[in-house]
Symmetry: C3
Subunit: 348 residues, 3 copies
């Protein structure tokens, strides 16, 4: 059993996948049943009937309430038991329920103290909503067989693209460029610039660059499970590093991680770019990300296996590890503060 | 490792499946090898050669004895070693053997003190043998991924049919009808009557009812692993509840459970009905039971998973749980009594 | 976690399978990456990058060095880190490396103190190199789901062939013939002769015997993981037992075991025979061994399962167990001596 931050909004599912039917999801080692009520609101209950522990998800949805498939105990949207067939209701039986909110095409869930579930704290990327200048494409719910903080390590680490993603997001030009990082309100940003170098394969495919480019990667991490990667390129000499990005390609690759359990993470990914494209181009672009993230998955699952079974418990630290190491400390600090009853929810 | 009643006759296999060849079975966490000797008697030994622990079931049957497939140690029907190739027999090596008896198409086994293995204690349903008025059809050996007492819960629980078996054995008419139960010599019976209601789907298919019926379900449980469900219907107003069942459909659905281990049960099921039918009708009837029992399996396996991994350890108890709760206590009492050396075998 | 002899040469792979590319192998519970450098030497490193524990085997081979696939840390043939992209090398980071040597078509590896890795200690069968009088055929890398000492038990045990390998290497004539054994320099030999009996099926197929034969089996075990079985037959009356084997069939069946972990062994097997044959005959001969060894695998895996889950912890010992019991003690003695720092490597 791993430890998790509780008072935060976690992504739990794509909004597109939650309809007026019972759907299973799992997060921080709890099984949940989700459905969209007739009012459009997403309901999320613990997926265990308090009677005999049957999963409510194999019951029936009746008038926005769940009837357990074993003996018909029925729970409304608030989790309250409203019927026990064959007898009156004794006490106040209920199933645990959790606040939800939708934004950016995702259902977000609050697993902590419901009193603190302020929806203004749900993560938001303003460009996602600026349909005039930006366009967004939803990706997948990629299951990765590792703890979510190992994926978070990867997402505080621009250096790996030079070696892992040579066919898509990286190239050799960046191999020896050091990374920098700085704290943000509830996380940190890790970045580097690669100046006057060939465009990466993705931008060779989707950009119109004739010569070398100046390329940036800003990895914005928000504790505990959000990472948004701002990366782009502009023709060298047009002043992009100084702030002039009038003629550039820029993409926010968003990773909204669901910490399922100590061995599993779901990476809900999407991309928001500063140009519009037809469906086929968008689809080809998603395919490039799909290739890249499957490369991360391969490595992260192999590392997870080695961490569980391996011998090397004192790793050799590199300069590029400073940002992931700080990220880990930040998350652990929040967990400890919550346990001590001192934590305040933070704007994500 | 779970605890089990030892001094009882458990069903271990269909008689039809045990021939003059070595066959593996598993019960109360022990692997057994079974075969039918040339005299027709079923032999059941522990499936482990005492020499190097090779399974005897991958050996050879020679003149009613098993020759181990690794080095040829040979054990007769009584378990006694009668040959060690290349040397004389030192001491009295033997493999553990267990008494068996056949009844109702099944092989029954006694895992406890062999001195107490009285075959008159083997379970029997008299109607099974009355070929004139009753006919019986053997079902399957259904493997369910749960502890056998969870299946026994289900078989002391008429209420679940209203929610689990809507296409076969139950309908909404019974939803709010309370259940009753009473102790029997070595178990208990749990029942309810549904008066003046539509026939259940099974009897819609196989009966000739024009109007409403009076329906009964009597769940006869015999500790620790036998459940026989007497259910039937008669036209409303013909006096069935008062005992007049001259013109009714009645079926005994028998469940003879093999407790394999903490995670596995084999349900040997068959049905005995008060009418005769052709093979095709019998087969269609069995198919209806097969559908119903697969619905139980789905729920029981989900509950088993939740019990092993779930969080809710103090269940909310309903009135309908009184019978299963008593059943659990009865079994535990017998286990404790056996451990204390005080238990007497009971007629099943 | 099992215990293993460390200061010994273990077989790790067929030479034919190790080329100038990264290849995974596992031995004594360690994952290794192997490759053949441009000089032809086989390099074997621990398959874990000391940075973040990514397997080096999913990295890239560049100029005889491995570049980690995650962040590009690069290790040369000696295991030394020669590059960290984006920073200078601090300290002396390295990956553990292990001495290797090739003989008899196999790569051998030394998992213990590298100072003691004397290649003159690698096992050798002189007949393998005498291409005039002998011919050898490489077999498979057979994975068996058991601890390697259980396979070693089997390979100090001529008696099992009478019961396990009736279609290939044994027949009923040997059932009651006792076995003998004697210590050797670093192991033991276990043997028996079967005089004036029909030839075994293998020699019925590949020999020209008209009548009965005198047959020998000498099981040469060399601690901890080598077994070479010298078996053959000559026409009865030609004096084979007294040493005259001018007209005989003789085969050395070699088993070079890789102890992978407590549950897994790789048996690299090959055979060396005192006659030459065409490719098709050799292939048919290998097929006979393949059948026989798959019979051993079946039994050894069943025993392994029973040992892990079984109840019989005090086995009944037979006379034929004396040799395997001594073998186990010999290995345990070497392990204890190594732990006490007193062990000397021994000629294998």
């Amino acid at each position: 059993m791993a430890e998790y931050v509780l008072n935060t909004w976690y992504p739990i599912a794509w909004s597109r996948d939650i309809a007026n039917e019972l759907t299973k999801r799992r997060i921080i080692e709890k099984d949940l049943v989700l459905y969209r009520s007739s009012t459009g609101k997403v309901v999320a209950h613990l997926d265990i009937c308090p009677h005999r522990m049957a999963p409510l998800s194999i019951g029936r949805l009746k008038d926005d309430a769940i009837e357990c498939g074993y003996h018909g105990m029925t729970f409304d949207c608030s989790g309250k038991c409203i019927r026990i067939p064959g007898q009156r209701i004794v006490g106040s039986p209920a199933v645990d329920t959790f606040p939800t909110h939708e934004n950016m095409g995702l259902v977000w869930i609050w697993m902590g103290d419901p009193e603190k579930a302020d929806t203004s704290l749900v993560y938001d990327l303003p460009q996602y909503h600026d349909k005039e200048n930006w366009s967004s494409v939803e990706g997948d719910a990629l299951e990765i067989g590792c703890f979510y903080l190992n994926l978070a390590d990867n997402l505080c680490d621009p250096a790996h693209v030079s070696f892992v993603h040579l066919s898509t997001l990286g190239n050799a030009a960046s191999e020896d460029v050091p990374v920098q990082f700085a704290p943000t309100e509830n996380g940190q940003v890790t970045w580097r610039w690669i100046i006057d170098a060939p465009a990466i394969p993705l931008f060779q495919k989707f950009g119109n660059f004739k010569g070398n480019v100046d390329r940036w990667h800003y990895y914005h991490y928000t504790a505990p499970s959000i990472a948004v990667i701002d990366f782009g390129s502009a023709a060298t000499g047009t002043g992009a590093p100084e702030g002039n990005r009038d003629d550039c390609i820029q993409i926010y690759a968003c990773h909204f991680m669901t910490p399922v359990d100590a061995d599993t993470t779901i990476d809900h990914w999407l991309h928001v770019k500063n140009f519009h494209a037809d469906a086929e181009t968008n689809s080809r672009l998603s395919e490039q990300f799909r290739i890249a993230f499957s490369e991360d998955k391969l490595i992260l699952e192999a590392i997870h296996h080695n961490e569980k079974h391996g011998v090397n418990t004192r790793p050799y630290r590199l300069a590029i590890d400073a940002s992931p190491v700080r990220m880990r400390k930040l998350v652990q600090t929040r967990i400890e503060a919550e346990k001590a009853g001192q934590a305040e929810p933070v704007v994500a």
